[in-house]
Structure formats: structure tokens, C-alpha cells
Symmetry: C2
Subunit: 203 residues, 2 copies
């Protein structure tokens, strides 16, 4: 039992090295198996297929990111606007840098996104839960007014789609993306209609 898990981890580690070094397409199951001192066939006792190894790696990495986001969403001493800002910006920056830094990550992201569409949905759902919590608390404190939180969270995600996989949808640089996200966020919070309190703290 504990053995099984350690073998699984060993495979993940070996694959991670290969994938990040040579890319997903250029690493073969035989190579990963050899790194683990086992036959290629044996890999299939631990994973249904090659893609599932990639997915496991992505899941592991993403979980850490998600924890980070959760912390940002509940940081005490910051108002809802700031926390929403931090959340959306962290999301943008992490994806941008990850894809910018190494082309391998880009390749894996593309493969998983096209072959496992459910995975992207799962990520969106996770982040939506965080958003809902944030909205919920913000309303309790009277910072936001939100009737249906789940729905609103979905709409916030919809409006910020462009910043989720930045370089898949545009060739904009990070500063330009940040400027846009800033603007969209302010619009989402303040809206176009005239406000109760136009400015609370100006300095």
C-alpha cells in the first residue's frame, strides 16, 4: 500500500524530469520506465496512460498554486477589493511566468487542455469556490452587494477569461495585461452606474 504510492511517486518524479527536460512528446514511456528500473508495461499498473502521468504532475503543481490563492483570498486586514485584486493578479502572473519561462510547460498545458477538457473545468471550479468565499465574506462585511454568489463568481471568471491563459489568446506583454486586468476589475467592482460613495479614501 505504502509501497504502491512510493512507486507512483517515483514514476511521477522520473516523468517530471524527462518532461521538463526534453518535453512531453519527446519522452517515451520506455525511457520513464528505464529511469524507474522497470519495464514499460509495468507503468500501466500505476497509470492508465502517458497523459495521465502528465495530468498527475499538473494536478500536483496546481494544488500548491490553489493553496496560495486560498491564502490570498482570506488574508485578514485587507478589504475585499484588494483581496480580489491580489487573487486575479496572482492568477495572471503565475500563468504568464510559467508559460514564459519554459516552452515545456506551454506544451504540456496545450496537450492537457486539448486532450482533457475536463481538467480546465476542474481548475475553474476550484477557483470559483475561492471566489465565492471571498464574495460571501465581502457581503457579510457590507463591502459588496451580491445576491447569487455562485452565479456572480461565474461571471467574474467569464469577464476575466482573457487573463487566465494569457498567451493562448493574445500576444500582449505582461504590463499591458496587468493594465487591462486592473481596468476590468475596477469596472466589475464599481460598475458604470453612479455610485453611493464615489470615493471613500482618496489618499
Amino acid at each position: 500500500m505504502a509501497e504502491k504510492n512510493s512507486v507512483r511517486d517515483q514514476i511521477i518524479e522520473a516523468a517530471k524530469k524527462r518532461f521538463s527536460h526534453f518535453g512531453y512528446a519527446k519522452t517515451t514511456m520506455a525511457e520513464v520506465a528505464a529511469d524507474c528500473a522497470m519495464s514499460p508495461g509495468n507503468l500501466y499498473r500505476f497509470f492508465p496512460g502517458k497523459l495521465d502521468i502528465a495530468e498527475a504532475i499538473a494536478t500536483e503543481d496546481y494544488s500548491r498554486h490553489l493553496d496560495h490563492l486560498r491564502k490570498l483570498a482570506v488574508t485578514p486586514g485587507k478589504d475585499a477589493r484588494t483581496r480580489l485584486h491580489d487573487l486575479l493578479f496572482e492568477e495572471l502572473r503565475r500563468t504568464y511566468h510559467k508559460l514564459e519561462r519554459d516552452p515545456r510547460a506551454y506544451e504540456m498545458a496545450r496537450v492537457i487542455a486539448t486532450e482533457r477538457p475536463k481538467f480546465a473545468n476542474w481548475m475553474l471550479e476550484n477557483e470559483r469556490k475561492i471566489l465565492i468565499e471571498l464574495l460571501d465574506e465581502a457581503e457579510r462585511r457590507g463591502e459588496f452587494t451580491v445576491s447569487d454568489k455562485a452565479y456572480t463568481a461565474e461571471m467574474v471568471q467569464s469577464a476575466t477569461m482573457k487573463f487566465r491563459y494569457p498567451q493562448l489568446w493574445s500576444k500582449l506583454t505582461l504590463p499591458k495585461l496587468e493594465r487591462e486586468l486592473e481596468g476590468v476589475m475596477n469596472l466589475l467592482i464599481d460598475g458604470l452606474c453612479p455610485h453611493k460613495a464615489s470615493q471613500e479614501a482618496a489618499a
Copy 2:
């Protein structure tokens, strides 16, 4: 002079038929030339290349659409919210139906978008001008509060990206897209913060 233009139009007509019937890739310059009873080489006196014929067709079609949008944006007797609604929905519906109806349109859209990135920018700019006018008038009437209209228009476009080329970014059906656009639009107008007038007309 008048002759030159009629030849140009003849080429466009012939190409339009071929493109919509067999697709852009499967149409050859020789065929278009033959349809116009001229040699392939002669086409190049009227267009720099094949892509430019496609672009001319797209421009013609898009101009009509743009006129329609302009009318929607200035329809008298409707408030700004309704006009913004009509504008964004018309944009979504026309693109959706166009790409849904025939796969040829999808092919041409993709080719032009990838080979002529400027074209997509030009479309965005045109629509932004309409948005700016709408915002401008809305502010004069006190319906919206917008300091920098050009910037705000850009942000509205950014937040509604997902609905601009619907089937390039998701596999959602039109009803689902409409539901989302409705939500995003309301969020953009009303914002998350508490409002001056919570509800003006409830029935």
C-alpha cells in the same frame, strides 16, 4: 476608372461564390480567374494576393454589420443599458450564427485572423468607437459615470472577449453564451459595490 472598379467587383463576386462553396483553401486563383474570363496573372493587377481578396470580401460584409451596430447604439427612446445590451448581443449572435451556419466562414475567419492580425484590431477599433459614443451620450444623460471613455470602452471589450469569437474559445451553446453575456453585462453596469439607487423600476 469605373471599369476598373467593376472588374474588381467581378473578381470579388466570383471569389465569394467559390470561397463559400468550396472553401478558401480549395479555391485556386486559376479558377477565380477563369470565372472572370481572364488569366490568373491578371488578378494581380487588382489585388496584391489571394488573401487580399478574402479580406475585401470580409470587409464588405463587416461594413454592413457595423452600420447595423451603429444604428443599435443610437436608437432613440431606449436607455443606455438597453442599447449596450442590444449592441453586445447583436455582436454575439451575428458571429455565432455566421460561424454556425457554414464552416467556410469559420475557415475564412481563421485564415484572416492568423495571417492578418491587423484586421481583427481594426474591427475592435471600429466597435470601440461605437461604444465610446454610447458611453458619451449615456454620461450626458446621467445614466453612466465614466471618466475616461476610450479606456472604459477598451475594458468593456476586454471583459466581453469571450463572446466575440464564441466558438474559438469555448464549445458553449448560444443560450449558455447569452446567459453569461447577460450576467457579465449586468456586472459591468451595476458593479459589485452597493448602489445609489438599488432598483429603479422593478416591474
